[in-house]
């Protein structure tokens, strides 16, 4: 039996479908990410799971128990909000203790659990601070501790890192993953950031226009996008239509060919190895350890990502090069 079963979830507002036909199962301790662009329905889906928004249709079971219509208080689900939602009139300790006090636990037990939670999220010394005196990263860790201390069956995280700067985000991401692994906590994480999804998740559910359009491991979703929407969202894929495929590769296809920018290899313009395609660099963009080239080959625009090894290897606009695309790196996808 699956730990979490979601079947036939649907929600609409005033005739506008937010999401429909949402089905998935989760194993205990699994870390799953709902990934998709803004407005695809992922946050509303999370709020429906939390019981904060009512469902139009569907069934939600946790450990075999049907909690579709249970009030949020009775679901055993913890949630971390994008806005942190810390109570501004309470200190760090009081915020973390709130859920335990609602359970009417003895003061000694509350104090001990709060101390453990503060240690878990490494916020020692901040017990008496009010949220207004904390940084964004510290607030998010308080929110995480507050959700974890009540020992939920499932943890929901609604874009918890989106308001933080890149460095804090990376460090907090790792901290969330470490805690999740240590507690073996079933976790559903919502984000529109593909890097976050790829680094954190056991499985990724890609959402587009209110539907889960692909679910699988990070590697599968990234390298084998199920359709054009996933390819566009996941990794700056080069998507070639039937005419472009014919022009560039001489292939007749009905749908699209997806080619990841990092699988296209560049060779010197005078290389005569068979199968190479002549191209011209139109534009280059330095992204740190990666250089992104826009090239034109046989009238088709392509994007190529190369490792930035040496300054001497960088190509300039107008340089002529040869391209190689291995047949196994071509992926035909449905439109």
């Amino acid at each position: 039996m699956s730990f979490v079963e979601v079947s036939g979830f649907a929600k609409s507002y005033g005739g506008n479908t937010v999401f429909e036909d949402i089905n998935f199962v989760l194993a205990r301790g699994e870390f799953v990410t709902l990934l998709g662009p803004s407005g695809c329905g992922k946050s509303t889906l999370l709020r429906c799971l939390a019981g904060l928004v009512s469902l139009d249709a569907g069934q939600f079971r946790v450990e075999g128990e049907d909690i579709t219509y249970a009030v949020p208080q009775k679901r055993g689900i913890g949630m971390v909000f994008q806005s942190y939602a810390l109570f501004p009139n309470m200190t760090v300790s009081q915020n973390i203790a709130f859920g335990l006090k609602m359970q009417k636990l003895a003061a000694k037990v509350v104090a001990s659990k709060v101390a453990e939670a503060i240690e878990l999220v490494e916020l020692g010394g901040k017990e008496r601070a009010y949220p207004a005196a904390l940084s964004g990263g510290q607030r998010q860790r308080v929110a995480l501790a507050r959700s974890l201390v009540v020992e939920p069956r499932i943890l929901l995280l609604d874009e918890p890192l989106s308001a933080l700067d890149a460095r804090i985000r990376r460090s907090l991401r790792q901290q969330i993953l470490d805690i999740q692994r240590r507690l073996d906590l079933t976790t559903i994480f919502v984000t529109h950031d593909q890097e976050e999804a790829l680094t954190l998740s056991d499985r990724i559910f890609v959402m587009d226009r209110g539907r889960i359009v692909q679910q699988g491991s990070a590697e599968t979703v990234y390298t084998r996008p199920a359709n054009e929407a996933v390819a566009r969202f996941m990794g700056n894929y080069n998507l070639l239509g039937p005419q472009e495929s014919r022009l560039l590769l001489g292939l007749d296809i009905d749908g699209h060919l997806a080619i990841r920018p990092e699988v296209i290899r560049l060779f010197a313009a005078d290389d005569v190895t068979p199968g190479l395609i002549p191209a011209t660099v139109m534009h280059s963009q330095l992204l740190g350890n990666v250089v992104r080239y826009q090239v034109e080959a046989k009238g088709v625009a392509l994007q190529i990502d190369c490792l930035n090894r040496r300054a001497a290897d960088l190509l300039s606009d107008g340089n002529r090069v040869m391209l190689h695309i291995a047949p196994e790196d071509l992926q035909e996808i449905a439109p």
Partner: protein, 293 residues
């Protein structure tokens, strides 16, 4: 290198400084200070000076007379009574009203806010007259209720009647003042509280009301001061028969029998002192509460 960096940063910081310093702001405030001086500080000082007995007695003689007189002590007691209860009623009903208004559709909310705006400004003689024709001795509602046997007589011309009529303008004033304060409440706080096991009551008790406490205290002070200083509604309703501080001041200033403006000034000083005390207690309480911002 560090020097070079500083050299670059310093002019930029200088550019951000306003060209004329703070003077434009101070000049723009001059009319405000002039009004404050002319209509608040000078009259207050004049009232204080005027509170000295006209017959040349000691400066505190009028205050001593007021504080030792059961009649004037009763006036303060009645004013406090009416102000306290009408302010509390206004505050409690306004909190419930605003919390409800935040949950209704926009058009209904706008209409309700427009109505409260109008009713908060309806006071004085028109308001008293409206209440008299509805709830006076021979008011429409009084006659209906008496006909049904629900009441024996109307009690509009009493302290309770005054509390009722004051509440009429205190409630909408409370709604108008509190309405923007509710913007401070984040919906996700309630969601987070419910995830942590709190029902609506626990949320309001532990989070909503404490967060709103500064606004609630400020609104209460405003309503209280409003009620303490109200005169026209009370006079029109009771023809001066209810003993309130404002009615006593008016009768001493414009009375046909007892013309004693120095005593009226002393009453006004005590009224100001009372409001200052309430405001100071409010500030003290707020300073003891959390500093969330």
């Amino acid at each position: 290198m560090a020097t070079a960096k500083l050299a670059v940063i310093a002019p930029a910081a200088a550019e951000r400084r306003p060209a004329f310093g703070r003077w434009p702001g101070v000049l723009a405030l001059l009319p405000f200070f002039a009004v404050l001086l002319a209509f608040c500080l000078v009259p207050a000082a004049w009232v204080l000076i005027s509170s000295k007995p006209a017959d040349g007695g000691m400066w505190y003689a009028n205050f001593a007379e007021i504080l030792s007189s059961p009649f004037y002590r009763q006036a303060f007691g009645n004013s406090l009574d009416v102000s306290l209860w009408s302010s509390l009623a206004g505050l409690v009903i306004a909190v419930v009203g605003v919390a409800s208004l935040r949950r209704v559709p926009g058009r209904l909310r706008s209409a309700a806010v427009a109505f409260t705006n109008m009713s908060s400004n309806l006071s004085g003689v028109p308001l008293a007259f409206a209440f008299i024709i509805l709830l006076g001795t021979n008011g429409t509602l009084t006659l209906i209720l008496r006909h049904w046997g629900w009441i024996d007589d109307a009690h509009l011309y009493s302290l309770n009647g005054l509390i009722l009529i004051y509440a009429y303008f205190q409630i909408p004033l409370g709604v108008l003042v509190l309405y923007p304060a509710f913007d401070a409440l984040d919906d996700d706080w309630q969601h987070a509280a419910s995830q942590l096991g709190a029902g609506p009551f626990s949320y309001w008790w532990h989070v909503g009301l404490p967060v709103l406490a500064p606004a609630l205290a400020g609104t209460f002070i405003l309503l209280f001061a409003n009620a303490m200083g109200a005169y026209a509604s009370a006079f029109a309703l009771t023809a001066g028969n209810v003993n309130l501080v404002t009615i006593r001041i008016a009768s001493l200033v414009a009375g046909d029998i007892f013309l004693q403006p120095d005593l009226a000034a002393a009453l006004a000083v005590l009224l100001m002192a009372l409001l200052a005390l309430v405001t100071a207690v409010n500030h003290w309480l707020l300073n003891r509460s959390y500093r969330g911002d």
